[in-house]
Each structure stands twice: as structure tokens, then as C-alpha cells.
Subunit: 447 residues, 2 copies
Amino acid sequence: MVDDANNQFLHHVVIVGGGFGGLYAAKALKRAPVKVTLIDKRNFHLFQPLLYQVATGTLSPADISSPLRAVLNQNKNTKVQMGAVIDIDPDLRKVILSNEELTYDTLIVATGVSHHYFGNDQWAETAPGLKTVEDALEMRRRIFLAFEAAEKEPDPEKRRAWLTFVVVGGGPTGVELAGALSELAYSTLKSDFRNIDTAETQILLLEGMDRLLPPYPPELSAKAETSLERLGVTVRTRTLVTNIENNVVTLREGEQVEQIPAQTILWAAGVKASAMGKVLAKRTGAELDRTGRVVVEPDLSVPGHPNIFVIGDLANFPHQDDKPLPGVAPVAMQQGKYVANLIKVRLANKSLPAFRYFDYGSLAVIGRNSAVVNFRQLRLTGLLAWLIWVFVHIYYLIEFDNKLVVMIQWGWNYFTRKRGARLITGEDALPRLGIEEASDNRKAIEV
Amino acid sequence: MVDDANNQFLHHVVIVGGGFGGLYAAKALKRAPVKVTLIDKRNFHLFQPLLYQVATGTLSPADISSPLRAVLNQNKNTKVQMGAVIDIDPDLRKVILSNEELTYDTLIVATGVSHHYFGNDQWAETAPGLKTVEDALEMRRRIFLAFEAAEKEPDPEKRRAWLTFVVVGGGPTGVELAGALSELAYSTLKSDFRNIDTAETQILLLEGMDRLLPPYPPELSAKAETSLERLGVTVRTRTLVTNIENNVVTLREGEQVEQIPAQTILWAAGVKASAMGKVLAKRTGAELDRTGRVVVEPDLSVPGHPNIFVIGDLANFPHQDDKPLPGVAPVAMQQGKYVANLIKVRLANKSLPAFRYFDYGSLAVIGRNSAVVNFRQLRLTGLLAWLIWVFVHIYYLIEFDNKLVVMIQWGWNYFTRKRGARLITGEDALPRLGIEEASDNRKAIEV
């Protein structure tokens, strides 16, 4: 094989994490005179912005994933390695994996964020978050099992709890989940059951701030709220979740406390930095912000360690505008490319001006034909915004791997309102429906 | 809702199992003056003939599954119920589920078969079979993890074991798996690794009889063998597996015994009837054959119980030709339709002649552009056979649910040789790679 990946004399760039940041850095180093090792716990890149469509049964995990090796197989200087980094040693320039160590010349950490329950980790069991493929399949299982359980439930009060879906968090993920649930309950599933009427489904979207999509302009937040209400979603802003226990959500809105029985609670509220943030703080003295993100220099390096970079959701970049850059894919991609370029120019003993994020705008989808787009002075809602959303997502999906299939799925779903990926899978699906399996005397029969 | 599903005075047909047999019976009862309850442990029908494509990373589970409720939502007389049947009571005409009982007027049992290790159930752990979505994802995980492990393995002997794939059983599933593995190893993955050359992969296909595809004419078996050998598969007939232990397969060919170290062993050899066969034998006195299938009457009913039918893979129908009908989808579909018609004419106090299977021929795919087709005097191989195979599968997939996506995936894969569904998923993927996760002192970091 003619490749540079095994050349021991080349400058070695180790990238930890194959999300948008890490992958774009690796791609941009394709022709650089370096060797690259990309380490990820998974063998695929996940297009997280569409994960809510897996959770709600429109797409399959593979539709929004690309094998890292396939994406990078033409990068002859790049090795992909499945593994978990558990520590680093900046003095010896080593990353420590569970069963080996690698020496780096430059280290790029892009391990992102996971959910955060604000100190209530016990809620995780009842209110799963949405960051991984497994999370999405867990949500999918719970959503479709809830309708099955409601269909079997003779007690009206219990049935109501099965048909109540609470989405916690009014950011883009919460808005997208609530919109997709409404389409599911009020159109996709409407002829599928005999004992229940899925039109009785209640979908609550809770947000602690005074409006949905807080980073967007207020007029778009108001539009999003109106659109969701029209779709049948009950939006409650200024509402905090104070407890989740025994499938009852306790809310506080001002002085008022309320309890809502709901069997399906989906968490789209908080994120916290991955554990790599703490490792960096401990080993380099880097400052972490309130959510555990690493505060980086204007060139995205860790203070005092010009050869260690942090990019993407794990980085807090405070050097542009008045607040840290948002944790969105375009920031991570641009940072990945920037660091790759910086490495290249440094090899020629040059440097680059500080990183600067170019904001192409932000997008959130609400439902069929409905989205909000915010691009500087341009603010769009409705069908046009939705078409832009579809176009942008297809464009980025295709950049990795020709995800023509997604386009077809969407086209198909659009016209038929069908959802093909409604599988309840996993060995424990039946027990969760309250169906007892195989006792000793009476062995359950495989149906 | 205007439907008959809850009408308590109608003749009640209970169908256990939503495979080809059960689903075709339910569909054919659409306009009959009966109410139908279809019980399945899963909420979807699975197009099992393509499961090997999920196991080898071409298709996603949802691509070959259709939600049972969606397929039957226009059948207003039909209820779908997720559940596990654990017993029946023919005297009281009841099926007993784990937490409820249903009274039937006519019972159709179509619960199919599962794998069979010929008394060596301990092999199941090392050599998984292929009947469910979970089975297919388990195979997929093992196949792709094996290449990852080989890439990390410095010891040549151990690496060889990671790159050795043994498929046990030379029926259609075994042939299809071996062909797909060869395409994976020798073309899809060939540029993806840096330390290993996937061309060194060994694929062994073992068959105990004297030729592959034993039910086919010998000339087609010979063609299949030649085609597979050309694809790089080592075919060994007259070869029995006598032990599987510590990832070593022990073979016997005549007097010769051989041991082959292989980390990935896929079971495509035996099937045995689902447990419902035993329940029927116990409660009705029905005769079971060697593999546990229920020997049925010429009208597919259980002897002495004209209102209990067994169809599909679970039925042994010995009344046509000299041997039982094969366990293939077309037999199940035709039997489902026959029983539905019989129920309808019986309600008008009439009867039908005995069931007769019309054999449209059989098909097995070997690889790109290569398949074998056997239809009476017509025997085809190569590209034309492959085109027929593609056409027939698309046709049947579309009948359930417009699986246009599969066609697109296939088209895409055909021209690019890519496989998009190569995800290694499940919480325990890393530990299986020999990567230790999170010890107490050193918490593994989420990458």
C-alpha cells in the first residue's frame, strides 16, 4: 500500500473525535505533509442535526451516518482508529487509550458534549436525551411503545399518561422533536389503532426561558410558537421542571406548581462538556466554563499549549461578539478547517490571524412546510424557510457520502406521511409493554 | 371510528405471527364478515429473505420491515396486538397471552422457526444465527468489529483469525452471506485500512451434504459453487462442524479432522420449529416432525381441530409430491391466502379442495450479477438470474410498503460498491474490541 499513515518521521496530528470538528480537520489535512490519526469510539460519523428523525421513525441510523474509514479512505496520510482516550500527557505529548499510547506532535480534541440534567442524573432513566444512535433508538422504542401501551390500557387515566409526551427544552432539538411528534400522532398513526384515537395525544414542549429558540430573534421565536400551537403542540415557556419521578413531571411556572403524569418524557434541555474537558483542565491547567467547556485562545489552542487545540462543542471561544460561539455544526466545521490550515502554515514557519466564525445563519425546522431561518437581516418562516432547511441538510449530507436515500425517504414521507422506520427493537421491548415473558412453568412462545 | 374490529358478535379469527403466512391471511380477510386479531411479539413484519443484507451492511432494518399496523390500517375488521402467546386451550377456544386471554372461533398459527444448533446450544454464543433484526445487527457488529480488531492486532496468527469468516450451512442464506462477505472484504473495504490488507480475508462456506443448495438441481449447485469460488470464497462440501469452542471451529470431512481458528462464525445451518409447535402437540395431540413442525391435514388444519390451522414454516404439509413443502416465503403466502379463503367459504357453509402449492420457482443470489434461478424446466444462472432475483424481491417489497428506498440503495451500491449501513452499534461494541472501558480510577472518556 502506498500511504503515509505509517511513516514514523512525519509530523503526527492526533484528532480525538470524529464529529463535525474532527472530521473536517482530518479532511482538510488530506494533502498536508503530516500523518493523521483520527480516534473515535465509534466507526462512523453521525450527522447529529437529523438524529431527531431517527428518534421519531422517519430515518434509519445508517441514513445519517457515514463510516469514518469510508469518508477518509482516500486520505492516504490518515489512519482511523476505534478507541477510547482516557488521558493525555502534554509533557511527553501522549494520548493514552485504554490499551495503548500514541505520541502526537499536534493534538486536536473534538469530543463534543453530552446531555446534562442539571444535577438530577436520576432523571436520565425516565427522560432520555438525544446524542447518540442508541439514544435515538431508545427514544423511538419509547415513543412507539407508548402508543402500543395506550391501545392495550383500559383505564382512561393511565391511557392518558401513555398518550402524553413531554419534551423538555425549547431549543432546536426540542422544537424539532415536538413538531415530529405532532405529525406522528395527528397524521401518520391516525388510522393505525382500534381502541385509542391518536388525536387525543398531548404533546407538551417546556422551556425555562420566556420564549422558544432563545438565541433567535424574538419575532422568529413567536412564529415558531404559533406554528407549533397550530400543529397541536402545547408550548409552555417560563416553565421549569423541578422533578421527574414515577413518570410524573413536576413543573413550576412562577409560583404555580403542577404535576403532569406522562409516560414519555424526552430530554432536550441541557448539555455538558464531555469528560475530555476535565482531563485537559487537569493536565494543562486550562480554564473550564460553567458547562465544562474549555476556554480556548484566539487560535483555538489551549493556553500555554500551542500544539493542543480544542474545537467544536467542547470549545468555549469567547473572542468574537459578546458571548461564546454556539454549539452548532458550522462552528465545528470551520474550526476544524482553521486548525488544519494553521498546522499546515506552521510547518512552513508561518502563522494565521485569529479564528473567526462566519455565520451563514441558523435554521430550525418545525414541521411539514414550516421552519425558521435567521440570517443576519434576513428572517424567514414557513414554506420558504422549510425549503432552505431541506436544501441545506441534503447539501451537507451529500458532502460526506451521497445520501440520496435521505432525499428519497423525505420525498416519500412528504407525499404519503408514512414513516417507515417505526420499529420497536431491542430484546426488552415486550417486558416494557408490561408483558411478562417466560416464567419457569409457562415458557413464553416465540411469536 | 367505523370499524368491525370491536364487534363482539362477528366470527373471530385469531392469527398468531405476522410473518408472510400470518400477514397474507390477515390481508386476504380484509372484506370477510369476520373480525381478525393479529398477534405478534414485534410491531413490524420483517422481510426475512433480505436479512442477510442487513447483516452485511447494505440495508437498514427499517428498509426491510413494515409496521404491521400500517400494512393493515385499511383493514377495518382487523386489530393488531403486540403480545406473546404462551398457551392455547382448544376446548374453551382460547389463546393465552402472558397477561390476558382471547377467545377465538378460528385460530391460525404462523409462528415460524428459529435457529437450531443440533443439540449444541452452547454454540449460539460464538456462532449467531440470522432470524431477527437483532440477529442481523449482531452479525453486522461482529463482522465490522472483526476488521477493526484485525487492524489493531500486531500478532499475525491472531490477525489471521480475525480475518477468517466461517459460514456454516450451504443453503440460500449461507450462500448469500458468503457472497456478500466476499464483496465486502475484496471490494467495499479494500482501501479503508492501513495495517491490514482485506484481500487476505478468508471466507469459508461449509456444507454437510455433497453440494451447495441441496434442494436445487445439481447443475445449479455446481454453478453456485463455481461462482462463489470465483468470488474468493472457499467452499467445502461434505464437511461437518463437530465443535465450536474458543473461536476454533473443528471440522470433519470424511475421516479427516481439522481445526480452524476463526473469530467470526455465522450460523446458517439448521432451523427448528418455534415453541408453539410443542404447545399445539400438547393441547391437540398433533404430530410433530423431527424438527418440531406440526404435520397438518390437506386443508392445513390440525388433525381433529378443523378450526385450528398451522401455516408457513411451522407447518409440515406432506400431501404434495414426496416430501414436505419447503420453508420459503411463497409457501407461507399461498397458505395464508388459502386459509383465509377457506374461512370465508365455510361461513357460507361450503368447502374448498385441499391446499396445493404452486411453485413459481426458487432463487438464490450469490453476488454482484450472479444468482441461480430454478423454475421447472428453466434453469438460469449469472446476470439474467440476478436481474430476475432483483426484480422479484423489489416486487414483493413494494407489495407491502413502497420500499423504493431499497431500490435506490441497491442502485447506489451497485455502481459505487459502497455500503452505507456499516455501523457498529450497541453499548458493548468497544469492550468486544478488547478495549477496556471506564475503570474506577480512570474513567474512560466519551469520544
